[in-house]
């Protein structure tokens, strides 16, 4: 979006140059009538230049957006092809290693071959995640009105086994406004936030609270119309604040909290940003973390009706005033 700005500043530049020309020292040498004519002439020339520049800029913008389009498509093809072509030999490696294990081998050989199989599985997961990440935000299915309650109910069913194993609970703690987006992306966001809340959590009962706030103060900033996902997990250290959203960044040792690839939160961030939003969080070690983020709401949604929230709608307003 840098082009319109530079175009505007260019126009401003010409106007200033024009003003200098018109109001310049020539005035003393020329009669008033002559000056008027010169003024009109200059203004006319300015307008001509402006038109020419506009035309050039429009052509430039068209060319650039075409180029961007092409490069996006190229990137998409690249990620797709690279991922598939990378996967095939990997599966070949794993299958051959498996065939090897069907032979009589020593325990030491077995242990090493099994590790190779495990690592190729991991590599394949990384490639899948990379492909998914590269496609997120560039390919969108049709946007439609989405009842988040239904999405969450679906996720509860999908995650049934995990929730049971982890003694996890997903609670909706406020009314939820109707969304307007690609439902697959909504699922991506909440699935990975819930998984994140369950995995990085030592609590006996792992509680994930989901809701919506009209206004909330997070790290000194007032956020309006944001969803939140709150957990009672291990918390995120301040120094890792920026790292958590980086793809494949894991903040714990390999086997400490399961074997995720560390891509989940990067998916979430990418989706939120694809809708022009920003994700942020506040966290306390051993207490839990709350993620806040906006998502596109349906136009005539229940967002206008008061959101049932047990806490601080009034306080939020006061704080906002205090800040602005």
């Amino acid at each position: 979006m840098g082009i319109p700005v530079s175009k505007a500043s260019m126009r401003l530049g010409w106007l200033i140059a024009g003003a200098a020309l018109v109001g310049g020292g020539t005035m003393a040498l020329l009669g008033r009538g002559h000056l008027k004519r010169r003024e009109a002439q200059h203004l006319y020339q300015l307008q001509e230049l402006q038109l020419e520049l506009d035309g050039r800029h429009n052509a430039e913008i068209d060319a650039l957006s075409l180029e961007l389009d092409r490069s996006n498509r190229g990137l998409n093809d690249f990620a797709y092809v690279a991922s598939h072509d990378l996967k095939e030999p990997l599966r070949g490696i794993a299958i051959n290693a498996d065939f090897l294990l069907r032979e009589e081998v020593s325990d030491e050989v077995r242990r090493r071959v099994e590790r190779m199989i495990e690592l190729s599985g991991r590599m394949q997961q990384l490639i899948s995640d990379l492909l998914f990440f590269s496609r997120l935000g560039r390919e969108e299915n049709e946007r439609r009105n989405v009842d988040l309650g239904n999405v969450l109910q679906g996720l509860r069913i999908d995650l049934g086994e995990t929730l049971e194993q982890q003694s996890g609970e997903v609670r909706v703690v406020t009314d939820l406004p109707l969304l307007n987006l690609d439902v697959a992306r909504a699922k991506t966001v909440f699935l990975h936030l819930i998984m994140n809340a369950l995995i990085y959590n030592d609590a006996e009962t792992k509680i994930v609270e989901i809701g919506f706030e009209q206004e909330v103060l997070v790290a000194g900033r007032v956020l309006k119309g944001v969803f939140f996902v709150r957990d009672n997990g291990i918390g995120i250290e301040d120094r890792n604040h920026d790292k958590v959203f980086r793809i494949f960044t894991r903040l714990n040792r390999e086997n400490e909290y399961g074997r995720g690839t560390g891509a989940g939160l990067s998916f979430v961030k990418k989706v939120v940003e694809s809708y022009g939003g920003d994700i942020t969080f506040e966290s306390q070690m051993s207490q839990g973390t709350t993620f806040y983020f906006p998502l596109p709401l349906a136009e005539e949604s229940p967002e206008t009706k008061p959101v049932h929230s047990p806490r601080r709608p009034a306080q939020g307003k006061a704080l906002e005033r205090a800040i602005t």
């Binding site: 797709y80 598939h84 065939f99 190729s120």
Partner: protein, 147 residues
């Protein structure tokens, strides 16, 4: 009663083909001949009784296991040609691929694929998946009469 002719596996990767064959035959419950085509063109020739197969057109397979990523004419093209052919379209096609991509899945079903299976990452996964596929296609469902 339908007579089962053979299974056509369209697969260029030797490892995947070997895994498929091992999976289909390892418990000796399948005595159906397995035919392999390594490229999409080879598969289309086989199915159409063209090219190298024109002098002695083979029986049409009872089931096609189709890889999507093939050299030259790829699996998508094979699928669309099979499903556009009034005679061939009766043959169930099971797409087997490494792609989990929803757009690939949708595109294949749109073209008329009968199943879409993501290739398991390891041999035991292969054995299980293929054994189930085999039981499903040759024991549970009834297939059209072989021509």
């Amino acid at each position: 009663m339908n007579t089962i002719s053979n299974i056509l596996i369209v697969e260029d990767a030797a490892d995947d083909y070997e895994a498929c064959v091992t999976a289909l035959t390892h418990d000796h419950r399948l005595s159906i001949p397995i035919v392999r085509c390594e490229t999409g063109d080879d598969a289309l020739n086989y199915l159409g009784g063209k090219g190298a197969y024109s002098t002695d057109p083979p029986d049409l397979p009872s089931l096609i296991l189709l890889d999507l990523n093939l050299p030259g004419t790829d699996g998508r093209e094979v699928l669309s040609q099979v499903k556009a052919d009034s005679k061939l379209k009766m043959i169930p096609v099971v797409v087997m691929t490494s792609s989990r991509d929803q757009s690939d899945i949708d595109a294949c079903y749109r073209q008329g694929a009968n199943s879409y299976v993501v290739k398991p990452m390891n041999l035991s996964g292969f054995l299980e998946a293929i054994a189930r596929l085999r039981d499903y296609w040759f024991q549970i469902v009834l297939l059209p009469a072989a021509k």
